[in-house]
Amino acid sequence: MDIQELAKTVPVEGEITLDGLDFISNGEEYLTFGLGEEHYGVDILCVNEIRSWELPTLIPNSPEYIKGVINIRGSIIPIIDLRIRFDVGEATYTESTVVIVLTIDSPELKRMMGFVVDAVSDVLNAQSSEITKAPLFGGIIPAEMIEGLINVGSNVVTILAIEQLLALEEDTDD
């Protein structure tokens, strides 16, 4: 069930077929990653970098999913373990554990955070029309954090809303 294989089978409307021009094709691109058995995606334009796991400095009295802070080129970045936050999979830290650093730079919110995930899978190209609303019932993840779902073959990728994800700390504050 490799998502890479799956992604290739996804027909994308109006895709420019010229090799190397994929990145300017219409539609959005999402970086997909795995948390346990589940697949998630984030807008690729918000991805700052992907780095390997390193032990962060603890933040006193913070929730369990905040692993601490690290130094990325002089900025102090909090590290959040999405597996604990979303309660999926097991929070183990191996050599393949990666941290996706997301940035948002809008007038309302300017922030950089790192998210621990099990593995980064692929870049998914999708039209916004392909994103369907997530069913309201169910999951642990707050509904406003989910932008929608994309079907990739027989799999479903949950697209996360970056702003909500990065604002996460304020919402759960006290």
Binding site: P56, T57, L58, I59, P60, N61, S62, G68, V69, I70, N71, G74, S75, I76, I77, P78, K110, R111, M112, M113, E169, E170, D173
Partner: protein, 727 residues
Amino acid sequence: MAIDLEQFYEVFFEESLEGLDAMEQGLLAVSSADEADPEDINTIFRAAHSIKGGSSTFGFTAIAEFTHVLETLLDEARDGTRTLDTGAIDLLLQSSDCLRAMINALQAGNAIDTSASAPLVAAFEIMLASPNNSNDNTSVPAGPSKPATTSELSSNTHLDIVAASVDNLLSDGGDSNIDYPDDSGSTQWRISFKPEAQILLSGNEPLRLFRELAAMGELRTEANISNIPAFDQLTCDECYISWTLWLTADVSREDILEVFDWVIDECMLTIDLANTETVEQEKFVPLAAERSQPPAPEQPKPAAVPTAAPEKAIAAKKASESTAGSASIRVGIDKVDSLINLIGELVITQSMLSELGSNFDMDKLERLNSGLEQLQQNTRELQESVMRIRMLPISFAFNRFPRMIRDLSAQIGKKVELKLSGENTELDKTVMEQISDPMVHLVRNAIDHGMELPEKRLAAGKSETGTICLNAFHRGGSIVIEIIDDGNGLDAQLLYNKAVEKGIITAATELTEQEIFALIFAPGFSTAAVVSDISGRGVGMDVVRRNISALGGRIEIESKLGRGSTFRIHLPLTLAILDGQLVRVGSQVYVVPLVGIVESLQIKKELVNKVSGNMTLYRLREDNVPIIPIHQEFAIEADNTRLEDGLLVVVEGEGQKIGLLVDDLLSQQQVVIKSLKSNYKNIDGISGATILGDGSVSMILDIPGLIRRVSDRKSKQKKPAAQHHAA
């Protein structure tokens, strides 16, 4: 050649505001001295003059026109034909406020509202019209034309009389045969302009002048290049050309003179009518010597009826003042020079090290080490120099107080004298900007609440005039600002009763005097019987304390009833860098600000006491210091959780001491403070983070925050009703 003048606006605003400050100080000096120091008056005059010149160059006519009237009065004062009495000084002070408001409006990109200046202009005219204390006119060497000028000006408000520039007013007599034509109808003027060679060096560009002339009407120029030396003697920044210009325009001689206002000291200028025979050849105007008769009356003045409440207009104007902060600092050249020297040294060290590195063997290890030491030294010095650039003497903040106290004490009928000391103590610019408002608040409070009325002071056996001292000095890594008054002091009993009455504390609460004084910082607390517009609404002191602690500082109060109070503000010198002691707890390294550390010691078992349930106290000489194990406080793992062998770092904040239990003391070093809030949020007990030499992140402990946390918890347990600072 088009120069974008806009790029100089900011400089003009800054210089003008500085000029206004200088003017205000000068005025206050004049008003407090028995006999006006001519130097003070000159300072005031110069400030007004350069604002006028600048504003007319940049086309801010409203300011130029207003300043001109002001200048006229000052000019008389400078010549000794008028002494500046209280009325005049008040008027001038109000005008400086008005000008400041105008400049602020321009800075914010708004149009100038002349409604505030018009009544002042009118008041000036009335004052100018009444030669209040003119000396015997003829005895004034400065010029027999003076009285005429004065009266003429006063009846002639159209501000084009700016043209009768100060320099003209400063006339030396004589030369009364110049023709001053009426400015109706086109006239052809012949202007002979022979600048001094250095004119370009002073930033004056003849082309700009000509462009201004060309804007008035038809301009024909003729350049005389006969003085240009041979090419090998030519210096590119000197001006060898002189011009003859013919201007056909409907303007008066003064209008033309105004164009040359700024260069008049640096050129030989002749202006005469080309179409009359009264041409006076070779009439030189060196150094402010062009004499003029009063300008012909122009348009009758726009009816500026003196309004009764010019002050109100100013107040309104002030309220709308924008706080558009300019983002530049003026730096002394010595500071820049020392930076350049340091960079030079750094470059030498760097090249030495890279040479060493490209060809290294173990024999050179010692040289490498010494090179690295040198690098460390250079870096440190460089860091200090860069920090010094941001440092300004605190007089920038102090200077607003003389004026404020003068106005305030007059308003409420108290006699107050201000003493400043330590004005040269340097402080980070950001800290200074943020501390000014709290200081203003404290000084206002001191005058309004602290100072007694003169009768009361006499009755209490004190001198009639109260004293407020502003004092600043460095202590360790921080700066201390004291605001001392010799007024009535704080009445602890009254404060206590008031606090009980307002429900801030319960009646049974027992507080030390220090704690009672601290009540005045509680939100909503005011002891003033009457709410005045100066203070008494009970907002403010809490803001003062909040602002100060936001800067990482603290405030202390000392007070003796009937003798006066001292408010002492401790502030870090800079917000960016901090001297810290690194401590280790388990795997984590924390930074304890060195300023807060009282001492570090090994715990002696017999000095540990348990009290009131779960409080652990350590006997430190006479004090009992609560022990706070960091691992418990932060819920982390530590090597050593037993008190017996632990290391205790005793820290102090907000007048209280606590002991932090740590595993190990590491090095002391300077750390650069990084905010956690930019990507996360503020954390209780942590004031920020820093990056250590190995690239790892370390948390900086917020000592006052930790103490508050602990004492909040303590008071919650002990007296649940009294948690007045639970946020």
